[in-house]
């Protein structure tokens, strides 16, 4: 009975984490992004920064919750010999699980690059003290960072969709790999 409650709770949290990541990314890309064209550029920049700040909190919460709830779900539902007797490499379910973990690591790595490398560059203020050339170079660096944030966000969305595919194949069968 306890195992059932734990598995229901774990499944619910796991799905909320997936929904927050995938649905939030799609909403950011398809709802908020295009709407920013309708406000003045300065306001759009503030909006983009504030929304990204808030969304990153959700992203990191989801990324933390995914493995925690996933492990809880796995150990409350599955046959644990999958990991103890080498089944993780020799069975479809094991390989699918491994691929999901690898893709989760990709999401974490991309999230870290966006949060700790690219976002600080975008948030930096242009200064006139170094002259016009330095300000121009800084603006160029910010523009490059914005382009990379956009690229990585799209890559993350595709990776997250593949993770959902793999997760669904585990939930409805024995994995697809």
């Amino acid at each position: 009975m306890t195992a059932t409650w734990v598995s229901v709770l774990a499944a619910y949290l796991h799905l909320l984490a997936v929904a927050t990541y995938v649905g939030g990314s799609i909403a950011m890309e398809l709802i908020l992004g295009p709407a920013q064209r309708f406000v003045p550029p300065a306001q759009a920049q503030i909006l983009a920064q504030k929304s990204a700040d808030r969304f990153l909190v959700l992203v990191w919460s989801s990324l933390a919750l995914l493995p925690a709830s996933g492990m809880l779900l796995f150990f409350s539902l599955s046959d644990q010999s999958l990991v103890t007797s080498g089944g993780i490499f020799s069975t479809g379910a094991g390989r699918t699980l491994l691929a999901m973990m690898a893709l989760w690591a990709v999401l974490v790595a991309n999230g870290a690059v966006i949060t700790f490398v690219l976002r600080p560059r975008l948030a930096s203020r242009t200064s006139a003290s170094g002259g016009r050339a330095a300000a121009g170079a800084q603006l160029q660096a910010m523009s490059r960072a914005a382009t990379w944030v956009s690229r990585l966000t799209r890559v993350d969305l595709v990776v997250a969709l593949v993770v959902v595919l793999l997760g669904a194949s585990l939930a409805y069968g024995n994995g697809i790999l």
Partner: protein, 159 residues
């Protein structure tokens, strides 16, 4: 076939709930940092897009859910009923917001109406919209709980 339907159902549900969570946890607090006129412009554009995305997800959920049942689904009656009730409530809420309340929040001045009355009318519509958005999120989260309840697995009909 069943795996594919399960994948699609999970994805549609995730996009729907994630979108609702995004509106509640990102967009609503964000409005404090935007001037009122621009909030109106943004709400108008985002509301239109959100409505179509939500309706597309709901239609796709119904299609994949029905296809799964026809493919020998065998959901327990209470779960199928719970999911159908949640789905129906979501359709009613999204349609109500999109077709009735959202247009009212952007209403124009009627002949013989003063600006204060128009503002009150718009504010009433915005308050109703807030309540409906929260109800939508609550129903979506409850529907998900019904879906994972018996086996503690994915939210689809293919559990």
């Amino acid at each position: 076939m069943r795996d594919g339907l399960g994948y699609l159902f999970t994805l549609e549900w995730a996009v729907y709930v994630g979108g609702a969570l995004f509106m509640e946890l990102v967009w609503r607090p964000l409005q404090r940092h935007v001037p009122p006129q621009q909030t109106g412009v943004l709400c108008n554009s985002m509301g239109r897009r959100y409505r179509w995305l939500a309706l597309a997800c709901l239609v796709a959920m119904a299609a994949t859910g029905a296809a799964w049942q026809l493919d020998g689904g065998g959901l327990a009656a209470w779960r199928a009923g719970g999911l159908a009730a949640a789905w129906g409530s979501l359709v009613a809420l999204v349609a109500g917001m999109g077709l009735l309340v959202h247009p009212r929040s952007h209403a124009r001045l009627q002949p013989g109406e003063d600006r204060a009355a128009l503002r009150r009318r718009r504010q009433r519509a915005i308050k109703v919209m807030d309540v409906m958005l929260r109800a939508e999120l609550a129903v979506a989260l409850l529907g998900a709980l019904v879906a994972v309840w018996p086996h503690g697995s994915a939210p689809g009909p293919a559990i």
